[in-house]
Symmetry: C3
Subunit: 321 residues, 3 copies
């Protein structure tokens, strides 16, 4: 099932481009797996991406080596682990750029609302299956939780002060065309993530006025499919700053205004974290976010919670290693 050495020339490699490549690799391997037994043909749709860190930036002209492996299957979902290595083809140097875990669900090609069964994979050790099952239960819980979270809307602020939330918030509108979509006529998860990174990549430098790179992306849940012909609004606002990082919340709202009598709905939301780098690659200090409303203060505290939790986890991992 391993597909090592799938290379793709990487242009100016934004975090969003890497997420798109990861998602494409995951979609291919899981669609192939779900069609590996006789039965109804299906396409694997992205349901969730686990938190992922960007370990080292990728430069123009480097080659991205993407490898994907199926690590767990439940009755209706597939867990895929994707690793991206960047390779300088002139020097031959390779670096791990990022590791991501994605969950896919097979949807019938004939009836897009029908979720099919996934052929089980073989585990070499019993613990592999148990650990996979644990990850499966955890993500299921988290998916439920975010589904209940209420959807905010971002309103434009007139003449905002520098370093306030309103000052850097941004949004982008995109009309979903055929090249954004899968065989089922729904937007590829990777296309959505790329647009989300694009918006967050405008919010961050608006705030800090220096060059930025994507440092990590929190778990993203894809609750609702987005159909061809929809207009999607991708909005980003800063929620938290530490001394060296900025957390940006990004929403995707879909507006199926043609051909369907349905309200605008929240399709995806996620947290992106950016750091600012000098030309020499050193971390630059980030101006503190000025919070004004109660909601902004609450979101800042929640962001701080996520920041401290991640920091603690990372320190624990370093001590283990």
């Amino acid at each position: 099932i391993m597909r090592p050495d799938d290379a793709n020339i990487a242009g100016n490699v934004h975090g969003g481009t890497i997420l798109k490549m990861i998602e494409e690799a995951g979609a291919i391997i899981s669609t192939r797996h779900c069609n590996s037994q006789a039965g109804e043909p299906c396409v694997a749709a992205l349901a969730r991406v686990e938190r992922t860190d960007f370990l080292s930036p990728m430069c123009i002209g480097e080659v991205a080596n993407v490898s994907a492996e199926i690590t767990y299957t439940s009755r209706h979902s597939v867990e895929v682990q994707v690793n991206v290595m960047s390779e300088n083809i002139l020097t031959g140097a390779k670096k791990l750029t990022n590791k991501a875990t994605l969950w896919y669900v097979p949807l019938s090609l004939k009836n897009v609302n029908k979720v099919l069964e996934v052929p089980p994979i073989q585990y070499t050790r019993k613990e592999q299956e148990d650990e996979g099952k644990k990850r499966y239960e955890e993500q299921k819980l988290d998916r439920l939780e975010t589904k209940q979270r209420n959807g905010d809307v971002i309103f434009p602020i007139i003449n905002p002060e520098p370093h306030t939330v309103g000052y850097s918030q941004s949004s982008l509108i995109h009309l979903v065309g055929p090249s954004d979509c899968t065989l089922l006529g729904f937007v590829h998860g990777g296309v959505t993530m790329k647009l989300m990174d694009e918006v967050a990549g405008i919010v961050a430098p608006r705030h800090c006025k220096t060059n930025i790179v994507t440092a990590s992306v929190d778990a993203i849940n894809f609750h609702e499919k987005i159909k061809k012909g929809c207009v999607i609004t991708i909005s980003g606002r800063m929620t938290f700053t530490s001394n060296k990082s900025m957390e940006i919340e990004v929403f995707v709202d879909a507006d199926p205004f043609v051909d369907e009598p349905r309200e605008r709905y929240r399709a995806v939301s996620a947290f992106f974290t950016y750091v600012s780098l000098s030309k020499e690659g050193k971390h630059l200090p980030v101006p503190q976010l000025l919070t004004e409303t109660e909601d902004e203060k609450r979101r800042f505290e929640e962001g701080k919670g996520r920041y401290l939790q991640t920091k603690a986890k990372r320190q624990a991992q370093m001590q283990q290693a």
Copy 2:
């Protein structure tokens, strides 16, 4: 109805790219408006773009803020005003890049040849409605006029002399693919305008041998839809030069050679004006166009007429201000 702050990272921003962004914003807002009442679902198709000036060039890395507003509705058409501001996200500086007025017509999603009715908008002042009606009547007249204009064809010239019309004329062929098209299977107006700017952007430096930027685009009428699978030929020839500007006429001819027993037809034509800039952003002199045939001389005089008329209008506006 206002959608301020819709941002889109602008790469190397040609005039054509900005026209495409403007058209996308206009298509979204007018399609949404025309579907806002229960009734047959529809897609708004671009019928006309009013003359637009490019007030300041946009640079790589700047963010384009596009805002669109519906300013008038007739029974079967929608007038949309789109403003583009360029924003340097590092310094925060903003400049008005361009203002455009577009006319859309709602076509039924079920029967593409059926024009639907437009829900009327509310005006805050009676004069708004009257001025809108006046603009509506004017553009209707102009549309009729250009429809009757006979379609020239551009033939290649062997060994043309420098600075003649034949020397700089150019054409480009494009096969209309699915990503160029709307839900109805017709080419987006914005895609067509981008290709037109691309051809004119080859004609101009062929003549003047220096760097050029789009200064303005005359009113463009979209008389005929272009279907997926057509081959379109976009041809450009220089019609007039002043000391500092070049006017280029661009035609779009569609050739539905597959699946339809129909002749090649002229779908769109328009005049693009370019100026030449030095590295310091100063206007450079433009070599005079050498006209040879009677037709070329006539078109030069017509171009001179448009040039003088625009100049007079601009001076009148400056005195008003």
Copy 3:
């Protein structure tokens, strides 16, 4: 039938981009020709590209002038000759970049497996028809031959030594989307060739560690159509090195894992030759390929045969001229 002066702004012009432009021009002219008589509508599908040399590299900002002409028709196929000239629009300098010969077959738009008849063209001299017929018979023979060649698969090598075949071999996976396809729902030949050049363009610098350009592409036969929704794996491995050139074999395997009960199959294979250039445009020496297995040694000898044959042909042509 000549379409001179079809210009297209050329970005960073890889060999693959030029091949894609050539194929698009060929597809347009042959589809138009095959639909020129009343009868079933059809789309011309690429069957074969003859060997083509890249005579001079094309630079960013130059304009590509593509002209296409139908030079022979058999009962079911069309031979098209495409010339590409690069033009520096600021200086006006033009250079022949490449000449290519392509063979197309008209497929019915209603039934994609039905090959239609081609309207015959008129020849100005009898020899033209005879020479065309000779070329037709030769390519038919070569197509049959390559069809019988057995398809290798490339396996990843763990920790390969520098300059071995395993060290530079590369592969790329691509999910076929709607924008890659013709009206018939099959991948454009030009899209496939562009991806092939991309993979070979990774293999070559992995071996030589210097900048490279496409020097020539051997005849490419398109035996099998690739359908929308397939995953294609494009794999490249070095087969031969001379002092100054590298030959790379590229395979395209299609995997129709959705919607069709079919095995992965070899759709295309071809040989690409690259040279390495210094910044001043001088040929750089290429490290010798280290062959290890019997198969690698055999392929090296076969590559040497092709290299010597091409060299001899070129010398014969130079003496003729």
